[in-house]
């Protein structure tokens, strides 16, 4: 354990100085105040908001607690549809990220040392580019007069441009593009803990590369796969820019519904209820997923 760092030594060296033990508390205090005042209190306040009824036409709340907002969300087909779409889109995007992410992580892991840094940087660096810019790139590619349609028409495959922008497919492509690197990095981190000579051993014993990758490496990389899957799933559930820019009013998801309720319709309590459900749904699914996968992983080890 590394608890005895520099400060441990310093503390021991200056143990006669009274009151020294208060220093860490004072140092961490500003951060804790930020969390308490700017995160916990506002979240509690927001949750309270969701249990009130909005006064129609005015930005005010009716007194008295009510479950009417939540009741509306879980009974009205419109809202249920949005929640279903959000979860379905996130699941599919995560699956696509996994299918594309594992081979790429494997490639980076096996790449010659000289090239590994460059290739990894090519995967990671786009994370620093604004999501708005990356979504704009897809708008240029997928638009009616975009690269993709232009190419298909030029080949002669189609006569009229295919409508992709502002559909669920566009949102899906955008989500995969934005979150993909997180999947690769999670799996790569797990792969780097595996001894590469295992693959050589498998080859010596007559396994093909594909078989070694799927039957030996993939199970050992499971912790990274689980971490990447949960991370990407929750990032997709809470993505805002991609569905706003690449989707339309027919592809509304929970985050854009919150925005719509707060900024366009001014029904703050309903928006707060959607936000609370989003947060709970996200945490709940992630928690359930980790439990199931954790259990099956333990069964595999046994």
């Amino acid at each position: 354990m590394r608890a005895d760092g520099v400060f441990g030594l310093v503390r021991r060296a200056s143990s006669e100085a009274p009151g020294a033990s208060w220093t860490p508390a004072l140092l961490v205090l500003p951060a804790l105040l930020v969390i308490a005042g700017l995160l916990v209190a506002p979240l509690v306040h927001l949750l309270g908001f969701s249990f009130h009824r909005a006064v129609p036409g005015r930005m005010a709340l009716e007194p008295g607690l009510t479950l009417v907002n939540y009741a509306r969300l879980v009974t009205d087909g419109y809202y249920l549809g949005i929640m279903g779409r959000t979860v379905a889109l996130s699941l599919i995007a995560t699956l696509v990220c996994l299918i594309m992410g594992f081979p790429l992580a494997y490639f980076l892991w096996r790449a010659p040392v000289r090239w590994k840094g460059v290739f990894t940087l090519l995967v990671v660096a786009p994370l620093l580019i604004s999501i708005v810019v990356r979504s704009y790139g897809w708008m240029v590619i997928l638009g009616d007069s975009g690269v993709f349609n232009g190419l298909l028409i030029w080949i002669g495959l189609i006569d009229e441009p295919v409508e992709i922008m502002f559909t669920t497919t566009a949102v899906l492509i955008g989500l995969v593009h934005v979150q993909f690197a997180f999947m690769v990095l999670s799996i790569l981190a797990a792969l780097e803990r595996i001894d590469p000579s295992l693959i050589e051993a498998a080859a010596t014993l007559g396994a093909t590369r594909l078989r070694a990758a799927l039957e030996i490496v993939a199970p050992l990389a499971l912790p990274g796969i689980v971490a990447g899957t949960t991370l990407v799933f929750s990032l997709c559930m809470t993505a805002f820019v991609t569905p706003t820019l690449m989707g339309g009013s027919g592809t509304r998801v929970m985050t854009t519904l919150v925005y719509h309720q707060f900024v366009t319709v001014f029904n703050w309590p309903l928006g707060a209820a959607v936000a609370a459900l989003l947060f709970v749904l996200c945490l709940g699914i992630v928690f359930a997923f980790m439990r199931t996968v954790g259990r099956s992983a333990r069964r595999m080890e046994a």
């Binding site: 760092g5 520099v6 400060f7 441990g8 030594l9 310093v10 060296a13 220093t23 860490p24 004072l26 961490v28 500003p30 951060a31 804790l32 969390i35 700017l38 995160l39 506002p42 979240l43 306040h45 927001l46 908001f49 594309m100 081979p103 790429l104 940087l121 090519l122 995967v123 990671v124 660096a125 786009p126 620093l128 604004s130 999501i131 708005v132 990356r134 704009y136 790139g137 708008m139 240029v140 590619i141 638009g143 007069s145 975009g146 232009g150 593009h177 990095l185 790569l188 594909l210 809470t238 805002f240 820019l245 985050t255 925005y259 707060f262 900024v263 707060a272 936000a275 989003l278 947060f279």
Partner: protein
């Protein structure tokens, strides 16, 4: 089989980098509409982007906000990381999770929670609201990079300093601080990037004068689709690449991201 694998990897790289390359190509377009490949080459859309008052004021807003938030976040984050590093009782791991918790709450949820709360306490100044919100989402990155730096310090270094008669204060200023400086710098740079890119929180807290750059681009795209956005985006891509190289040199980009 092997060739197939490399083909797939090439395809994935094309998928990742294609949209960015297309943006850069389109930005040199000479015509009036966004087409790829560009018909004739010109820098006119760069001039047009730089002459757009909404874009210019958004850049100024974003840089000012990012710098302020990164500076405050670094102060708060470094102090907290130092405290965690010397913490002795069992709550240490819990404390660390609490300090990183702003990273797991959805941005939209933080945005409206702050909108509702700051409105109810009467804080209406949009610039202050933005600084407060960005401090909250930026400081965990500083905590993370500084903790990573502290964990790599060889304990024998401080030991040697103490043996040589250094006071705790001297050990901190002359040994510990210089060693964690790359972590502090990386945390500050990354905090700036996070602030610059944020949309889901800022969008609830801006007013007509405080729109940040990504939000200005989004609202421009709502009614326009000319290549001036491509020109502006290309400049942002260039800036992001430079920042990525800087972070890679100073600290390692993967470590900054926590992988």
């Amino acid at each position: 089989m092997r060739r197939l694998f490399h083909l797939a990897v090439g395809g994935i790289f094309l998928f990742m980098l294609g949209p960015l390359l297309v943006v850069v190509a389109v930005s040199f377009n000479g015509g009036n509409v966004t087409v790829f490949p560009p018909r004739d080459v010109s820098m006119r859309w760069y001039a047009s982007a730089l002459a757009n008052r909404a874009f210019v004021s958004a850049v100024i807003n974003s840089v000012a906000l990012g710098a302020t938030a990164a500076m405050l976040a670094t102060c708060v984050g470094v102090a907290a990381a130092l405290a965690i590093d010397r913490w002795r009782f069992p709550g240490r791991d819990a404390l660390q999770s609490i300090l990183l918790s702003p990273l797991v709450v959805p941005g939209v949820v933080i945005g409206i929670a702050l909108l509702v709360s700051l409105t109810s306490v009467g804080l209406r100044d949009s610039a202050s609201r933005l600084v407060i919100a960005h401090l909250l989402i930026c400081f965990p990155y500083s905590v993370r990079t500084v903790l990573a730096s502290l964990a790599r310090i060889e304990p024998s270094l401080a030991e040697a300093a103490v043996t040589l008669g250094a006071a705790p204060r001297q050990v901190f200023w002359n040994v510990t601080l210089p060693l964690i400086r790359p972590g502090i710098a990386a945390g500050a740079i990354f905090a700036f990037v996070i602030s610059l890119d944020n949309v889901p929180i800022s969008i609830f807290l801006i007013d007509a004068h405080t729109a940040t750059l990504p939000i200005a681009i989004m609202s421009y795209l709502e009614y326009n689709f000319d290549p001036s956005v491509a020109a502006l985006s290309s400049m942002l891509i260039l800036a992001a690449c430079l920042l990525a190289l800087l972070l890679e040199r100073v600290f390692g980009l993967r470590r900054v991201l926590g992988f």
